[in-house]
């Protein structure tokens, strides 16, 4: 059952484990550090891991998009936000009271436990009938036919976001 450590499958398994670790460590850094810039770095690391997971799920396109959008765009944007706003980190650290920390642990733990429980005990349906070949063709075809609505929605959302963010940033400037 278990492949040997040095077979390609085994190596893949090792890499998968590493990826899980990367994801988890990234998530921990992202949530537990005091300095925001570190948590963004953690977020980026976490996304690297998640992209690897996607790759294991045979969807390299989504993995690449994950890198391109999350690491290259979202994280950079957040980092910029931090740079521009420069929150007073020492003050923030002081404000994190034990109560809210405890509450946070309870909330997070409860949610992940519930989800995990559901995942493990869920009676999932039979395996997929159609195999994902990992190519872009299928995604492209279905994006433009079956799910064209989604495609349109994405473009509208992005357009709205662009206009909205420009307007917001402008509005702030007018305050001067």
């Amino acid at each position: 059952m278990n492949p040997s450590l040095f077979s390609p499958e085994g190596l893949a398994g090792v890499i998968f484990l590493i990826l899980i670790c990367v994801t988890m460590i990234g998530a921990i850094i992202a949530t537990c550090t005091k300095r925001l810039i570190r948590s963004v770095s953690g977020l980026a690391v976490c996304f690297l891991g998640v992209a690897g997971l996607y790759y294991f799920l045979n969807s390299p396109f989504v993995a690449m998009m994950e890198l391109l959008i999350y690491v290259g765009a979202v994280c950079v944007t957040i980092a910029f936000a931090i740079m521009l706003a420069e929150p007073d980190e020492a003050k923030l650290a002081r404000k994190m009271s034990g109560l809210s920390g405890g509450l946070a642990v309870v909330c997070g733990g409860a949610v992940s436990f519930a989800l995990g429980y559901a995942a493990v005990n869920g009676h999932w349906m039979a395996p997929a009938t159609q195999v994902n070949d990992g190519s872009l063709k299928m995604i492209g075809a279905s994006l433009l036919t079956k799910y064209s609505m989604v495609f349109e929605l994405i473009s509208i959302v992005l357009l709205a976001a662009i206009i909205g963010s420009v307007a917001l940033a402008r509005a702030g400037r007018r305050g001067n």
């Binding site: 059952m1 278990n2 492949p3 450590l5 499958e9 085994g10 893949a12 398994g13 998968f16 484990l17 899980i20 988890m24 998530a27 921990i28 992202a30 949530t31 925001l36 948590s39 963004v40 976490c46 998640v50 997971l53 799920l57 396109f61 989504v62 959008i69 999350y70 979202v74 944007t77 957040i78 910029f80 521009l84 706003a85 923030l92 994190m96 946070a104 997070g108 949610v111 992940s112 436990f113 995990g116 995942a119 493990v120 349906m125 997929a128 195999v131 994902n132 299928m138 995604i139 075809a141 279905s142 799910y147 989604v150 994405i154 976001a161 909205g164 963010s165 917001l168 702030g172 305050g175």
Partner: protein, 106 residues
Amino acid sequence: MLTLSTQLNTYLIIGAILFGFGIFGLVRRPSLIGMLIAVELVLSGASINFMAFNHFLAPDPTVGQIITLFIMAIAAAEAAISLSIVIAVYRNYKSIEVEDLVELNG
């Protein structure tokens, strides 16, 4: 251990943990940007679930990917918007801490 990548549950649990971390951060972080980071974690936790189900169970292997892409677009848009909100808020209030923003109410 080495065959974990072929089991649905692994992915689901990872997704759940990420989601949990997201919620944890959301509650714990006092600042807007920190909450934004937590939200991104929540979203990626959800995405992993989608992708996992897509891979192992879905009859149509593209639906999960498309939804994940959709989430990415949403996340990007969200990041852009929140960046501009943060800038605007900071410009006007010199602070991005949630508690200090109560004035937004009135």
